[in-house]
């Protein structure tokens, strides 16, 4: 099962490499990963998605917690949560396709953020699933380039990951 693990870690050089290194060292996989500083400049928030059964995920969270640089950790998939990913996608857009792509983009609540004579660049935010669907929905159109941020997320309600 896919899990979204989100953690606060020391905003220091080397902290990220310890987290990523742990995954390769112990043979865990990372499906997506993103990291940036938080409102507290001494902390970074890292969110990753990984696959594994319960015992594997338990090991992953325990091993992550053991890293001295990891301050706090939550498996968002344990409870109800909001997840978002941003995608920029560049597609070939000529002739009748231009209108069709625009319509699909609207349906998915995306925005065309750059327009060229033969290409559109579309911005889309949502769950990883939704982004996958959008890429599939492009159908006939030629996808030239895709870039995705990886999943980030927060728990719903009052639950907060903080010091």
């Amino acid at each position: 099962m896919r899990h979204i693990i989100s953690l606060l870690m020391e905003n220091e050089p080397g902290a990220l490499s310890r987290v990523v290194g742990l995954f390769s060292q112990r043979g865990y996989n990372i499906e997506s990963l993103n990291v940036a500083a938080t409102e507290d400049p001494t902390l970074s928030r890292l969110t990753l998605t990984t696959l594994g059964d319960d015992s594997k995920i338990e090991q992953i969270t325990k091993q992550l917690n053991k890293l001295i640089d990891v301050v706090k950790l939550v498996d968002l998939t344990d409870g109800s949560h909001i997840e978002r990913e941003l995608m920029l996608i560049k597609v070939k857009a000529v002739g009748a396709q231009r209108a069709e792509i625009k319509r699909t983009t609207d349906i998915f609540r995306g925005q065309i953020v750059d327009v060229g004579t033969s290409v559109y660049t579309i911005q889309l935010a949502g769950t990883a699933d939704k982004l996958d669907s959008f890429v599939r929905a492009m159908g006939e159109a030629t996808v030239l380039e895709v870039v995705r941020t990886g999943v980030c997320g927060l728990a719903r309600g009052d639950k907060v990951l903080s010091l």
């Binding site: 870690m9 080397g14 490499s17 090991q59 325990k62 917690n65 001295i68 990891v70």
Partner: protein
């Protein structure tokens, strides 16, 4: 009082002193020259100049295992740092507290492929508990404090501090103050176990009919031997120790079943397999213990105490996990169990326990290594390696510090030396590092100059760090080296015998081995060669008597075709599936 103004190098020297460091094991080089000069001018801490950086880490490791205090290593950048890696990994796998100070090229050259530059923090990352690179000289005291705190608390482990050369420059002085305490917001190892879980565990223990206590290196590291022994005796439960746990329970005690695992005792492995309750303390269900995890102890309810939550349910799920230091958890268990037994003396099923002990004694009588001699010494004129260890144990009354290398000799030592106390058996259990034994023995001998320190080794292992004979000369370290000489890489040969049709691919030395007696003599030591059974005990007596103050290299030529038994049947075997000799299996 005004704070002293010190350079980075001086702060480092002073901080080590303030930390109570007794020895530094190291090797100088370009990137650490400022530090070495500061040590020369300001430090009283004895520095042990090894002959190879790997030996510095093993010596610090041996010191740490014997004393419980952190070992300290100082090496230069580049090759100095990479040579230390095997020793750091060794310490990491066995959770040994160690602080490694590595030099680094000056900050402005980092990343430029400068002379003797290597990314030490990067290279060591998977094999350290934590690491630091010093970015400002004034951070040195706090970094040292943190490093020692991390290395020695919770599940111990090695910590690396990488020091760019400009951080220790003698011209730049800073106010020095060594912090009293340290706070790391993301690091708070458990101080005690969960009381509810402990209570539940005691209930299960008291209702056990076929219990076993399976105690590992965590009991030794956590100084919990007394508590473990008290609990086992209170409940009259059998105890088995892992390779790392030997000495955690007194070897000659009736309740001790010997080591368990791949080369574990028949009675220990059987007791585990048929147990209804297993109390695992400071052990990690290593693959060398469990054999096939899915077939491991099918009937057992498992209680697992460990200070490291990640060790619990990693390979074998625990029914009652207890995260906490072994000593504190066992203390609490003891209190509860004593109370319960006082209130209801009948709560322990003593009849079932008596039956269980009867079964265990049956296993002991059938194939126990200590009940009768199982290796047929009379079948040959050659000395059996097991007999050498038994003679050593007798000569030293089970009280020596025994370090070992890795291979058959290590297993023979683990099986036939009866360790009565913790911290006396010093071996590389997790990483299995050949070349560990001699430098580790140096570290132990420095810590305990009056104790008997023996390195049990083989021709393969000893040659991996034989250069340390020179260090022993320089610091007058009269360790005893007991080389079980069989002319092969014995454990490799054993596997080739058992699984590769006796094809000895690169496990034979032929006539290439040195004359170890002359070699020892060349370094100024005593060498004794033993070929005949009747010469063994006199040679040992000389080593510990006449040559008490000398390093003695005992080169004992043993039966080259001996195998270590029992040995787990693999793959797909369970704990009880063992080879008992070349021809017998369970």
């Amino acid at each position: 009082m005004a704070k002293p103004m010190l350079s980075g190098g001086e702060m480092l020297a002073r901080a080590l002193q303030d930390e109570g460091v007794e020895f530094i094991f190291g090797y100088p080089g370009g990137a650490v020259l400022h530090i070495y000069d500061a040590l020369f001018q300001t430090s009283d801490i004895p520095h042990i100049l090894v002959r190879h950086e790997q030996a510095a880490t093993h010596a610090a490791d041996g010191y740490a295992r014997a004393t419980g205090k952190p070992g300290v290593v100082l090496v230069t950048s580049g090759p100095g740092a990479t040579n230390a890696i095997t020793g750091i990994a060794t310490a990491y796998m066995d959770s040994i507290p160690m602080v490694v100070l590595s030099g680094q090229v000056p900050s402005h050259l980092i990343g430029e492929d400068a002379f003797q530059e290597t990314d030490m923090v990067g290279i060591s990352r998977p094999i350290v508990k934590h690491s630091f690179m010093v970015k400002r000289p004034e951070d040195i005291p706090a970094t040292i404090k943190k490093a020692f705190h991390i290395a020695t608390t919770g599940r111990p482990g090695p910590v690396v501090i990488d020091l760019p050369k400009d951080m220790t420059h003698p011209a730049h002085k800073f106010e020095y103050e060594y912090p009293d305490k340290v706070k790391i917001r993301s690091y708070a190892p458990a101080q005690k176990g969960h009381s509810g879980q402990i209570r539940k565990a005691v209930d299960i223990l008291l209702s056990a009919r076929k219990p076993v206590i399976y105690a590992g290196g965590g009991v030794v590291l956590g100084n919990a031997s007394a508590q473990l022994t008290a609990l086992a005796r209170l409940l009259d439960f059998p105890v088995t120790n892992t390779l790392m746990g030997l000495g955690a329970y007194p070897g000659s005690d009736r309740q001790f079943l010997g080591m368990l695992g791949m080369h574990g005792f028949y009675e220990a492995n059987n007791a585990m397999h048929y147990a209804d309750v297993i109390l695992a303390v400071g052990a990690r269900f290593d693959d060398r213990v469990t054999n096939t995890p899915s077939k491991f102890c099918p009937e057992a309810t498992i209680i697992h105490i460990d200070v490291d939550p990640a060790s619990i349910s990693k390979t074998v799920p625990a029914h009652v996990p207890i995260v906490g230091p072994c000593d504190a958890v066992l203390d609490e268990m003891l209190d509860i169990a004593r109370e319960r037994l006082k209130q209801e003396p009948e709560c322990l099923d003593r009849k079932a326990l008596a039956e269980w002990w009867q079964r265990i004694d049956g296993w002991r009588d059938a194939h126990g290594l200590w009940t009768a001699c199982r290796y047929a010494p009379e079948s040959t004129d050659l000395i059996k390696p097991q007999a050498v260890i038994e003679a050593l144990c007798k000569m030293t009354k089970g009280q020596a510090y025994v370090t070992s290398d890795v291979g058959q000799h290590q297993m023979f030592a683990a099986q036939y030396y009866r360790f009565e106390q913790p911290r006396r058996w010093i071996n590389s259990g997790g990483l299995g590092t050949m070349g560990f034994g001699l430098p580790a023995a140096m570290g132990v001998k420095l810590a305990y100059p009056d104790a008997d320190v023996v390195c049990v080794t083989g021709e393969g292992s000893i040659q991996m760090n034989i250069q340390e004979l020179s260090t022993c000369t320089q610091y007058k370290l009269p360790v005893k080296i007991l080389n079980l000489h069989n002319g092969y890489l014995g454990m490799v040969k054993q596997w080739q015998d058992m699984q590769y049709g006796g094809r000895y691919s690169e496990s034979v030395y032929e006539d290439s081995l040195p004359d170890f007696v002359k070699l020892a003599e060349a370094y100024g030591h005593v060498g004794i060669r033993v070929d005949r059974k009747e010469d063994l005990e006199p040679a040992l007596a000389d080593a510990f008597g006449k040559y008490r103050d000398r390093l003695v290299f005992l080169d004992v030529h043993v039966d080259p075709h001996e195998h270590v038994y029992p040995m787990h049947v693999a793959p797909n075997g369970s704990m009880r599936d063992m080879w008992l000799s070349k021809t017998e299996r369970t």
